[in-house]
Assembly symmetry: C2
Homo-oligomer: 504 residues x 2
Amino acid sequence: MSAGPVQAAYEALIAHARQTQALASAAGVLGWDQETMMPRDAAPQRAAALAAREAVIHARHASAEVGGWLATIEAQPDALGPEAAAQARLVARAHARAVRVPARLASELARVTSLAQGHWAAARAADDVPAFLPWLEQVIALRREEAGHLARPGQEAYDALLELYEPGATAEGLEAMFAALRPRLVALRDRALGADRQPARLVGNFGTEGQMRLARLIAGTFGYDWSRGRLDLAVHPFSSGSGADVRITTRVDEADPFNCLYSTLHEVGHATYEQAVAPHLALTPAGQGASMGVHESQSRLYENQLGRSAAFSGWLHGRMEAEFGPLDMDAEAFFGTVNRLEEGFIRTEADEVQYNLHVALRFGLERDLIAGRLAPADLEEAWNAAFQRDFGRRPPRPALGMLQDVHWSVGLFGYFPTYTLGNVYAGLLHRALRADLPDLDADLSRGVPGPALDWLRTRLQCHGSLLEPAALIAQATGTEETGTPDPGPLLAYLEAKFAAIYGL
Amino acid sequence: MSAGPVQAAYEALIAHARQTQALASAAGVLGWDQETMMPRDAAPQRAAALAAREAVIHARHASAEVGGWLATIEAQPDALGPEAAAQARLVARAHARAVRVPARLASELARVTSLAQGHWAAARAADDVPAFLPWLEQVIALRREEAGHLARPGQEAYDALLELYEPGATAEGLEAMFAALRPRLVALRDRALGADRQPARLVGNFGTEGQMRLARLIAGTFGYDWSRGRLDLAVHPFSSGSGADVRITTRVDEADPFNCLYSTLHEVGHATYEQAVAPHLALTPAGQGASMGVHESQSRLYENQLGRSAAFSGWLHGRMEAEFGPLDMDAEAFFGTVNRLEEGFIRTEADEVQYNLHVALRFGLERDLIAGRLAPADLEEAWNAAFQRDFGRRPPRPALGMLQDVHWSVGLFGYFPTYTLGNVYAGLLHRALRADLPDLDADLSRGVPGPALDWLRTRLQCHGSLLEPAALIAQATGTEETGTPDPGPLLAYLEAKFAAIYGL
């Protein structure tokens, strides 16, 4: 048998997939619009539009035509080059999933989560858990149903959802990763908070326009391409889109400029990853970041390992003074301030040490919710008890507790742990990058992250989803592929950095 | 044969159509986004997304399933109630069109027009006709091809396109309508411009923020529902969307506040029409305005017969002075000023008398372009010659001539004459409305258009597309349905109004 039929099947498959990606790309814009621009009462109509779109995309993924092309390709596994084989593998994965999930369920999930998001926002604003519970229950029921269709025999339902965001990850592996992280993070947190030396808090009023000017400056400095993106305000900062249209949002708190500046830098990490994917991959299955965890590794590396380094924060100190006038601290103290540990309640505002404890808490709770071990009605108490256990106090109101994140309202179960996976990947990447770039601090202190960005772009970002996450990280860092990534480098980096800041 | 199978077929048909409408509604948001928010270099990616979406919608309209349901329904024409029959008729029309136009062509049209629009904008900014010509040629070729598929035996290609915007209209009927309008409009224009009494021009600088505040005030005054809409800036004012998400745009010229204020009121006419369609029709085939002509009748009635009346302009005079300080004219003179005839070149800035002369010019040219009697390369000279004939001078540069409108770049051939149809419909509606509302001027002088808006809402707007345009206008005005609408009331209104202003 010649390669002819396989080539022909692949050409048909990729043309079909490009059209599916083009349809999906419109959803990115609609999602962004919903968060930034959409009129208030348009929510039900938008939900109907998203449900209809989801049904169309689901049908395309599941189509018998696609199944036929895949069968032809899989009959001769070595007939395609590595890039085409990777594309076919991604299509096959989406096809297998779509075939298992009924179209009605896919469409209903899109509709309900689109509505639930609005109800979550209203419930959070009113600290009204009972108003949100019926929606949460509906979303969980639908995702449990979906997981039931997706799970392989003997597979935990939660793992079937996790795989949608992080191919290759398992709850068991994550459990081990969190078990390794938790005691050392708790110990570091407790030592830092108990230390004699405490960084000062930044005090003052920092005008919105100045913050947005600085946010734009930082975004440009970190390579965000404005001709293919834009920055707007939203309740919850996010990045959306791929290829030639990757938009970011931020928020402004005039008492806390770091909220705006570092959330912008975080989203720039996500967005420049998408912008850096090789152009010939645009609107193909491999034309996006490799996984949520890998995505988060980029955003966290930009935000923390680079953005909160002593070198870069020194440069930022100068830009802050240029924008807002003299600060009541020098650059060295400022480095402590941007890394200051706080006894807060909000994950997105957490420092680097405690951030992964917030994630660990959510991972445990959502795994129980999906397993049916925890009822949604009991979530608030379970959250508060877990918070007491991990942080030594209870959230004073649900907006600071179980209502703080959008994720569960939009059905993102299995998503939270990818944040910590991303931090662990970032630890590995940062170690490798530092070894290759001895002058990085000198560059960062001049506001020039370019060499680090180039390293990430060529080693990792340009490849899109051609490699599976574990293989991609291994290739980028020049290490062996492992099942669950090693949290050692992240912990070593955190322990060294915070020992220096807190004089431990 | 019982009504059972027909009912079942109708239920399936309308459920399918609702999903198609939901998909189409997303396109409205994407179109708005492209004009207001989209990053510059995202155009090709957006074009691909729109082409993919068009292919999906085309396939849905053309599907054999839909054909089967329609055949069942059409076998027993009296089995459905009038509303269901109207919905089925609209689906049948879309199905018949989609079956005749190849999917490849529909998709290619969406892709090319999405790109051509950007090239038109660049060409207009640079006054560069040669840069636009290849795109115009491509668009015309594609639409001629489409018209070839759509036209019935013996039907003029142009009429096949015209029907897409105005069911029931023909080029021959429009030709007669323009022939009746042209001499009386030219005579009125020449008498007014030659009169001794000439309204003053408004002189001054009117800040952007003040203009936008007033624009919002006017929009709210005319019933625009902000919870289902929003107002933004764009190069070309437009309204888009339907049902619960109807957005409008405007533009600001600090030397000419009427540009912003009256274009806003115009778009509010379009938008409130969509917002007024009965909620149970939302996301159904009948859930939008009845035609482009009927749409334009609402926007022009709001803008001109109501907005530029002596009564309402008196109220506006007061609001202008409150916002910008004393004007150098009283309310009576201000009425003349908002209706002042100008020797301009731009259709969208034309006064009520000359506006339809601008449209007549485009109608003649585009009919020739589609018939192949006029080559795109000869359009500039043809435009300038026609302008010389109708307005007595030549446009000094193409941005003031053939490059001024977006329409042809996005393939809108057969669309321009619906503007004049709308004005003629507005003349008929205005006559009927005035007869029913003797106190209207007293209301308008207090800034209360409510009774007129209610009249339009209950007589016309709430019905969506349930009736064909001619039947809808006849029903709303309580007159007999005619082939081509009577331009008499519009001409009588214009002649009376401008005789008063210019002392003719």
